[in-house]
Amino acid sequence: MEDYSKVGLKVGLEIHRQLNTKKKLFCDCPTEAVEGAESITFMRRLREVQSELGMVDAAAMFESRKRKTIIYHADLKNVCLVEMDEEPPHNLNPEALEVALTVALLLDSKPVDEVHVMRKIVIDGSNTTGFQRTCVVAIGGQIKIKNKIIPIQAITLEEDAARIIEVRKDEVHYDLSRLGIPLIEVSTEPVIESPEEAIEVAYAIGRILRATGKVKRGIGTVRQDLNISIRGGAPVEIKGVQELELIQKVVENEVKRQMHLLWIKEELLKRGVKKEDIWGAKPVDVTSIFSKTSSRVIKRQIEAGGVVYAIVLKGFAGLLALHPSPGIRLGAEIAGRVKVWSEVEGIFHTDELPNYGITVEEVKVLRDVTHAGESDAVVIVAAEEGKALDAINVIKERAVEALDGVPEETRAARPDGTTVYMRPRPGSARMYPETDIPPIVISQDYIESLKARLPPTLDTTAQQLVERYGLSKQLANDLIDSEVVEDFEDIVSKTGAPPTLVASTLTELLRSLRRDGINIEKITKAHMMRFFELVSCGKVAKEAVRDVLTAVAQKGQNVEQIIEELRLWSPPTSEVEDKIKTLVKEHKQEILNDERKAVAKLMGKLMKDYRGRVNGALINSMLLKAIQELKSDTL
């Protein structure tokens, strides 16, 4: 592990969370998904709006180059003309504003005097308008973790984007149900100095958000963006970290990546590589070298009428393939950029060749034809001509940036904690006022009234759980952090099952199942409810919980069916009693000789028969009772 203070790690967090308001942010559609509605699809194209310079922002330009036809799917119970961009937005939802202001007050952030809704340009289609509506609700504030104070930059309220459902060659499909759900964003200053601290801050902010009782729970309702830099590096924005546990890995990987890029920069300078060398390099058509290639990717491109272009990166030999840790390679950086910008798949470099069906001989000729020296790397691109030339430019651009170290960019997190290039970082220029919504004055009186009715913090909630249900403090906090307090209370009150059992099932057990690679999405609250009902009335032993839930997750059947299949029904108590009495009679002598030894042996026998079906403690007490009776009869 790195010593993060030595590399000057600075992390800023942006926590996005959906609000559980009745209505969406700018219309009266419900935020809860409504099933079975009539749905329509319609087609749109977005077009970048040019700036005063006749230029579009790098990020907008980027998206427009990838412009695809957009197909929207609108479920008419959750979508109206506002989401379809066919009606101006209604006024900002006061319920959402109140939640955001409440969060602001809980974080000691100062509400603005007047809220102005802005349009933030996003033309990938995720917003029908081509912009996301967003507004700053409060500025500043702080959150305390252990002994450190983390300053808050701002609290914003924005509309959630449409959910992407399919990407085809020329078409991208979005579902509009999610568009317009209020989303609160809390961003910290970039002062977090270790991955552990980042997780702690995320949890702390999460507890504040949940204290309002107005945030949505479950998959897709929370998203974390990280802003990471090290000394000498550059702020890199990493989007879409869904699981808090992933933060650690993402930060670790990003530090390694930036350190590697800084090392490459030093190495290139040492080697005397200059930007002009890279810019000046001309693409060379090397299609003929590969006319008989056994590389399938290249062959396919050439057969489709494509070409193979090569570009020499002077002084880069050996640097493209070098990787200090899996997934971190300059070669991968270049390929990632090319893939996104010009959608070219066939890209190879000499550091990794011969390989992929490309022979030693082909590499040799390639080096000869391009006049590449031993210290140079050659990158080849196989695609249709226009795309190939586009790709060559992207390669040059990224190679030039290698001389500056770490490029500022937006990257997407992958489930393994590595990241891939997404787009350049947008400048602040892509924001302009939403003139369809008048500014909203936040009066001092209103703020005072909110202050007077701030919700209790989650520390209070934890204390209440301990007192009311006899849970351990740790289990209570676990319920809170796992966001299942409501489910817990509901299950306990409706089934009468032991609170500690319910709590540990909802937290530790589910976590452990997930760790074992079991997809727990199929386990619903109804499943839980039914199982604990059966536990409460003695039909099934609490020991069966893991087996039953595992089977539910895997098969998705109802709880009774599974208990039947696994033969986990508890036998009637009388049956168990009879069995114990018989056993005790059979082993009378052994019991009288050495009672402790005999009990152990009999428990073993009984558990073999009843494990998972009858509570062990119950068997034990029944056994002891039977022995007691035997002894009193014998006397």
Partner: protein, 446 residues
């Protein structure tokens, strides 16, 4: 310092800003209520609360800051005026049809200065082509900025001006004319131009946008591309309106100028042909003609009659409405009325005597229906027959708005002392497709 530099500010805030020599666009530091802010002073929304200033923060967001007695504002640096760089002239393709785009208001293409939010419309051909480069491959484009007027402010004089401009281009052998127009009254203008420029030798295409062009989702460009393609290539010489057929960006409907009306306040498919289908559709770069009674391109029957007289009035009848309004308006000089009656063309029976008096005095009274769809028929019920006897002229399946425009045009083109019968005859003559004798069922497609 002039007023526009402090746009939206008034009272003590304006005084404070003037004292500190601060204008909109300047970078300022504001200390208010114990907090310090840095940012760019922005224009204020006209209806916004007067006790706040708007500041754009370095992260691009605007916020409003309440100004009190103790608030201080100081200038850090003067703002840079938004300078819109002239865009490079796009490469043009030769041998394409010549199309003129006449702008009258509304912005069909624009650029945004994100620093201040200023929007600049693209008026000359250069800007337009740079912003919508697809046009370069469709036609050789010239532009004329005729008016810059909100469509609700369009008057008869503008109709006449537009007709004159278009007539000028027709005589210059242009291949097609596109007229950009705010959408609110585009239907009226389309009707007016249909009567003023009858059987023209080239397509005259009105076009607008329901979403302003300063947003990425604007329908302006798609509509304009279809309009220019129609102007350049359509085989007909008709006055038409080109707007979205539905919510999708794929099909643009080409409506006849005397059949089209705005039927939705905000949706892209606001314009619909009533009592008829659109005459063509533009899709995938192709113009598909669906009507067969069209005036052909190159027609030699062109008639230019750009006169209108605004002494006509459109009245919507409602239950309990008294007829005195007709008398009052007639006394003030109104020469004719279009009554938008109920159902097949009715108003309450107490109107009959008033109408009889007015028509006796030579006032024209035509009847259309507030049903919008369908044809009036005043023979079916007694009340209709009584109204006819009193002199009301049933106007068939003409749209009320179109009937009004036609009446204005009729008054404009007949001598002042023209007989009521002449007015009646002209009103009932189909001039530009405003009267269809056949009513067809709704096939579910607009």
């Amino acid at each position: 310092m002039n007023a526009s530099e402090l746009h939206g500010y008034s009272g003590i805030i304006k005084e404070l800003l003037e004292r500190e020599n601060v204008s909109v666009g300047d970078e300022v530091e504001v200390v208010s209520n114990g907090r310090r802010y840095r940012g760019i002073l922005m224009v204020r929304y006209e209806l916004a609360d007067p006790k706040h200033i708007t500041l754009k923060l370095p992260n691009g967001y605007n916020i409003g800051i309440r100004v009190t007695e103790s608030t201080t504002i100081s200038k850090i640096s003067a703002g840079v005026k938004p300078t819109f760089v002239r865009l490079p002239k796009p490469q043009t393709v030769s041998d394409l049809p010549n199309v003129v785009i006449i702008s009258t208001g509304g912005t069909i293409a624009s650029r945004v200065e994100y620093r201040t939010g200023a929007v600049r419309p693209a008026l000359d051909a250069n800007d337009l082509l740079a912003i919508i480069p697809e046009l370069v491959e469709i036609a050789n484009i010239n532009t004329e900025a005729l008016y810059n007027v909100f469509s609700e402010n369009v008057r008869i004089q503008h109709w006449i001006g537009m007709a004159e401009a278009i007539d000028r281009f027709i005589r210059k052998s242009i291949d097609g004319v596109v007229l950009t127009h705010g959408t609110d009254t585009m239907g009226y203008t389309a009707a007016a131009l249909s009567f003023a420029l009858q059987r023209p030798p080239i397509p005259i295409v009105l076009v607008g946008a329901q979403r302003s062009s300063d947003r990425p989702s604007s329908d302006a460009a798609t509509n304009l591309i279809a309009a220019v393609a129609t102007a350049a290539r359509a085989p007909f010489g008709e006055v038409v309106v080109a707007m979205h057929k539905w919510h999708s960006d794929d099909v643009i409907a080409i409506h006849r100028g005397t059949r089209v009306i705005k039927l939705h306040t905000s949706s892209r498919d606001a314009f619909r042909s009533v009592n008829s289908q659109p005459i063509a559709y533009y899709q995938h770069g192709e113009l598909k003609i669906v009507a067969n009674d069209l005036n052909p391109r190159g027609s030699s029957e062109y008639i230019y009659k750009p006169k209108f007289d605004e002494r006509a009035f459109l009245i919507k009848f409602f239950p309990s409405m008294k007829p005195d309004i007709l008398t009052i308006l007639a006394e003030k000089g109104t020469k004719g009325f279009i009554i938008e009656g109920t159902g097949l063309g009715h108003v309450s029976s107490d109107w009959v005597p008033v109408i009889r008096e007015l028509t006796k005095d030579g006032i024209f009274i035509g009847m259309t229906s507030q049903c919008k769809f369908g044809r009036v028929n005043m023979n079916v019920y007694d009340s209709g027959r009584d109204l006819q006897k009193a002199g009301v002229v049933p106007l068939d399946d003409m749209l009320s708005e179109v009937a009004l425009v036609k009446l204005m045009w009729t008054f404009g083109n007949l001598a002042d002392g023209a007989e009521l019968d002449e007015v009646k005859k002209l009103m009932l003559t189909n001039i530009a497709g405003e009267i269809y004798s056949r009513s067809l069922p709704n096939t579910g497609s607009w």
